[in-house]
Amino acid sequence: MFELRSRWSRVGAQVLATIIVLPFLAALIAMVQGSFAGQGWGNYLKVFNTGVVPTYFLNSAIVAASTIAIVYVITMFAAFGFAKLRIRGKEVWFWLILAALAMPEAVLLTPLFVTASTFDIYNELIAVILPIAALQVPFTILLARGFFEAIPTELMDAGRVDGAGTFRVFWYIVLPLTRPIAGAIVVLTLLNAWNAYLLPMLMLNDPDKQVVTLLPSFFMSQYTNDQTGVLAAAVITAVPVIVAYLLLQRSFERGLSAGALK
C-alpha cells in the first residue's frame, strides 16, 4: 500500500504499528498470566481432565462449519441479487433483513425455544445453527453487497454477451473476485458461531451435544469461581480460531489485483 522509500519512513511505520498493537497485547498477557497462576500448566491439565474437551470441540466445529456454509451460500446469493439484479422493492427487503440485526439475543430466547420445541429439534445442534446463521446473515449481506456493487458491471455484461446465463456469470466471473470479502465473512461467522453462548446454553443439554463456550462453566458455580481454570479454558478455546484465522487469511488475501478486467 504505502511505498516506504526511506529508511526513516519504514522505521516510522514499524514503530507506529507497534505502538498500536501494544495495548492489545498487554491485556492478552494479563490473561495468559492469569491462566498460569497457581498451578501453572496444571490449570490446563485441569481443563483437559474434565474429559469433555474433545466432544465440546467437535460440536463447536460442527456448529461453526455448518453455520459458515449456510451463511456463505445465502450471503453470496443474496448480496449478488441485491447488488446487481432487479428486484421489486429491493431496498425494502434489504432493510427488513437488516432490521433483524437489532434484536438483543436475550429477547429471542423464548420464541426460539418455542420454535425448537414445536419442530422437535430441541437438543439438536441444528437448533443452534439456524438461529446463529439467521443472526449473521443481515450483516454479512450488508458487507458483501458493497463488495459486489464495486465489481464493474462491464465484466458481467461481457459474460452475458458471450451467452452466459445469470448463474454462470455469477459463478465463473463474479464469485472468484470476492475472495477478500468471502474471507472476512468466513472469519466473522466463525467467530460468532464459535463464541455463541446463550443459545447453546438454552438448547443443548445433552453433554454429548454441548459446545466449547460451556467449558468455563465447569469452573464457575454459585460459590466458587476458579479464575485460573476459566482463563486456561479460554486460552484453549481461542487457539483453534486463531489457527483458522491464520490459515484463512493467507489463502484469501492472495492478491487479485491482476487480471480483473481481463
Binding site: 504505502f2 516506504l4 511505520a13 514499524q14 504499528a17 498500536i20 498493537v21 492489545f24 491485556a27 494479563a30 490473561m31 492469569g34 445465502i74 450471503t75 443474496a78 441479487g81 432487479r86 428486484i87 421489486r88 429491493k90 432493510w95 427488513l96 437488516l98 432490521a99 433483524a100 440485526l101 437489532a102 434484536m103 438483543p104 436475550a106 429477547v107 429471542l108 420464541p111 426460539l112 420454535t115 446463521a133 439467521a134 443481515p138 450483516f139 449481506i141 458493497g146 463488495f147 464495486a150 458481467m156 454477451v161 477478500p180 470479502i181 472476512a184 472469519v187 466473522l188 467467530l191 464459535w194 463464541n195 453462548y197 479460554a234 480460531v241 484465522y245 491464520l246 488475501e253 492478491g255
Partner: protein, 302 residues
C-alpha cells in the same frame, strides 16, 4: 437500455441486463424471517403485557402503559444517552485505529502476521472470561495504576471502576480493545480490493502517502465504513456483555446501556413486558439510525 423485465429467459444477446433477483435473495429472506421476525412479532405483542416472562404465568394486557412508563423513565434516557456517546467515541477510535493499522499492514512491515494475530485475538475471547481480568487491571491496586505510577503519571491513578466518570471510559476502552480487530479485518479486505494501478498512478503524480490515504484509499473503502457504521449503531444499541460483566452497569447506572437495562428489567426484575417495550424502542431506533446512515453516506457518494 433494455426494458424492465423481472423474469429473464436465457436468451443470449438480446438483453444485456441481468435477470430477476428474487430467487437469489429468497433463501436469505426465508432464514431471517423464519428465525427472527417471529421473535420480533412476539416481542411487539409482549410489550403490551404485564408479564414476568414465564410462559405458564398469567399475563395482563396493559396496552401502551409500558411505553408511557418508558418515556418517563430517567434511566431509559440515561441509557440512551450513554449509547449515543458510546457509539460516537468507540466508532471513531475503532475506525481510526483499524483503518490506519490495515493501511500500515498492507505495506512492508516486519512481523505482519504476528501483528495481525495480536489485534485479532481479542475478538475471539469471550467477554465473560476477560471481565475479571479487566476488573483487576483497572482496580485501585491494579496493573493500570501501577503503569501510571511507573511512567510518572501517578497523580492520575484512581479506582477507575468505582467512579461514574471514569467507569464509562473504561467500558469504551475495553470495547475498542475487543472489536478493533474486526474493523481491521474488514478494512484490510477492502484495501485488498483496491487496484494497485490506481495507487501507482497517484504516486507517479507525486502524491504523498498521507495524501493517498486521505483522497484515494479512504473513499474507496467507504462501503466498508458504511457497513461498519451500521453495525456500530446497532451494536451500540445492543451492547450488553462488556458493561454488564465488568461494571454490572454501575456504579449508579454510570455504564447503563439499553442492552443492560433490558436485561435488568427482563431477567432480574421480571418485567418482561416493559423489557419488550424497550426492545421495540431499540428496534425502531436501530432501523432509523441505519436508514439515516445509509441515506447520508449515499448522498455523499453521489
Amino acid at each position: 437500455m433494455t426494458a424492465n423485465i423481472v423474469r429473464t429467459p436465457r436468451r443470449p444477446g438480446k438483453r444485456i441486463g441481468l435477470g430477476a433477483g428474487m430467487p437469489w435473495i429468497l433463501p436469505a429472506l426465508i432464514l431471517v424471517f423464519g428465525m427472527i421476525y417471529f421473535s420480533i412479532g412476539f416481542t411487539g405483542y409482549v410489550s403490551t403485557l404485564d408479564w414476568n416472562g414465564f410462559i405458564l404465568s398469567p399475563s395482563e394486557n396493559v396496552g401502551g402503559d409500558n411505553y408511557v412508563a418508558m418515556f418517563q423513565d430517567p434511566i431509559f434516557w440515561t441509557a440512551l444517552w450513554h449509547t449515543a456517546v458510546f457509539f460516537v467515541v468507540t466508532f471513531t477510535i475503532q475506525t481510526a485505529i483499524g483503518f490506519s493499522f490495515a493501511a500500515l499492514l498492507h505495506s512492508k512491515i516486519h512481523l505482519a502476521p504476528l501483528y495481525k494475530v495480536i489485534i485479532f485475538i481479542p475478538t475471539v475471547l469471550a467477554p465473560a472470561t476477560m471481565a475479571p481480568v479487566f476488573r483487576s487491571i483497572f482496580d485501585a491496586d491494579g496493573q493500570f495504576n501501577w503503569l501510571l505510577d511507573h511512567v510518572g503519571l501517578g497523580a492520575l491513578a484512581r479506582p477507575w471502576l468505582a467512579e461514574g466518570a471514569t467507569a464509562m471510559p473504561v467500558v469504551m476502552a475495553v470495547t475498542v480493545w475487543q472489536w478493533t480487530g474486526l474493523t481491521f479485518i474488514l478494512f484490510y479486505a477492502a484495501m485488498s480490493q483496491i487496484d494497485p494501478q490506481i495507487l501507482e498512478a497517484a504516486r507517479v503524480d507525486g502524491a504523498s502517502n498521507f495524501r493517498m490515504l486521505r483522497s484515494i484509499i479512504w473513499p474507496l473503502c467507504s462501503g466498508t465504513t458504511l457497513a461498519l457504521a451500521t453495525l456500530g449503531v446497532i451494536g451500540a444499541l445492543k451492547t450488553f456483555d462488556v458493561p454488564y460483566l465488568i461494571t454490572k452497569a454501575g456504579p449508579n447506572h454510570a455504564t447503563e446501556f439499553l442492552g443492560t437495562y433490558i436485561y435488568q428489567t427482563m431477567v432480574q426484575e421480571k418485567h418482561f413486558g416493559y423489557a419488550a417495550a424497550i426492545s421495540v424502542a431499540l428496534l425502531v431506533i436501530a432501523i432509523g439510525g441505519g436508514v439515516l446512515m445509509r441515506v447520508r453516506l449515499h448522498k455523499k457518494e453521489v
